[in-house]
Amino acid sequence: MPRACFKFALVAAVVALAVPAHAELTFSDPWLRAVPPVSPAMAGYVTLNNDGEEPVTITGVSTPAAGHTMLHDMESTGDGSRRMVHLHHLEIPAGESVSLAPGGKHLMLMKLTEVPAPGETVEICFHLKGGKDACTGFPVIRQSQTDG
């Protein structure tokens, strides 16, 4: 995808941030880590901000790009190993933010219909307790600044 297109996608994502579907949950710096086209899964990162006065609980995540999407956390075992664990829900206290970042909590997109290429943007929806959805575009990035 041409660079200009990628920039447009980024701008679109920023605009999407400015007009959130639901005032309680907003997104900062969403991105998906680009992986080789043969990959079966990919990871996504974002900072989730709860600007409301009530806690927000995420009960699930979905995207048309993947057959199965989960919230994962990283757990350290005593011997220097790490493992991923399924987070069944994630609560964001009122006025606080939770970061999904490399090596920690992350979105896991599995059973990808097609691996999106760097520059593409994938719409991901967070299902909230109470029945609402909050969605935003995640640009696919080959290597992020926040990632070193």
Binding site: V35, P36, S39, A41, D79, S81, M84, M108
Partner: protein, 192 residues
């Protein structure tokens, strides 16, 4: 655990001294780690036997992982690729070899690695083998991995160090998965 606060004033200067010692030495008196490493033979992405001896004469960046892990492993691969590209720009990439060893031979077959690795554009050699062979190599490098059945999929619990080997295959330094690219580049250069 209770005793830690009392020990802290004594441990802290020690720790600092350690860190400072680490900072000063960029030239390469990287110590040889005699506890880890050694000979091995696995299968490369072309399905050919690949022995550790083939790496002699090159500085090797060795790391373990599995391609079905989307978080840490592609991040490490991408960062190793960045190290490689920096060395390439310095004209020294031909003396450096990145090597990826999977601990998921069931899914990371030679054919799959051959499709997966070129995307990173870092001339990475991918090694697979039988589970026993890989277990043996992992043991030599002190790598822990446990297959972890989760719902319909399986994952691995694993340690994720990156190893810098000198041109004789000796382990000279270990890095965490979130290593600094410049640090590895400088260390690799110091061994050339």
């Amino acid at each position: 655990m209770r005793k830690l606060p009392y020990l802290l004033p004594y441990l802290l200067p020690l720790l600092l001294a350690f860190l400072l010692a680490g900072c000063g030495k960029q030239e390469s008196d990287l110590p040889v780690n005699t506890r880890l490493g050694g000979e091995f033979t696995l299968t490369d992405q072309n399905g050919e036997p690949f022995s550790q001896a083939a790496l002699n004469g090159k500085v090797t960046i060795l790391f373990f992982g599995y391609t079905h892990c989307p978080d840490i492993c592609p991040a490490v691969l991408a960062r190793v690729a960045q190290v490689y590209r920096q060395l390439q720009e310095a004209g020294e990439a031909d003396q450096v070899q990145p090597v990826f060893i999977t601990f998921d031979p069931e899914r990371d077959t030679a054919a799959y690695l051959k499709e997966y690795l070129p995307w990173f554009k870092a001339n990475i050699i991918g090694l697979t083998g039988s589970l026993e062979e890989i277990r043996q190599v992992a043991k030599q490098y002190g790598v822990v991995f446990i297959k972890d059945q989760q719902e319909q999929d399986y994952l691995f619990t694993h340690s994720d160090y990156i190893y810098l080997l000198d041109d004789q295959g000796r382990v000279r330094k270990l890095y965490p998965a979130d290593f600094t690219i410049d640090e590895v580049v400088n260390d690799a250069k110091s061994l050339l």
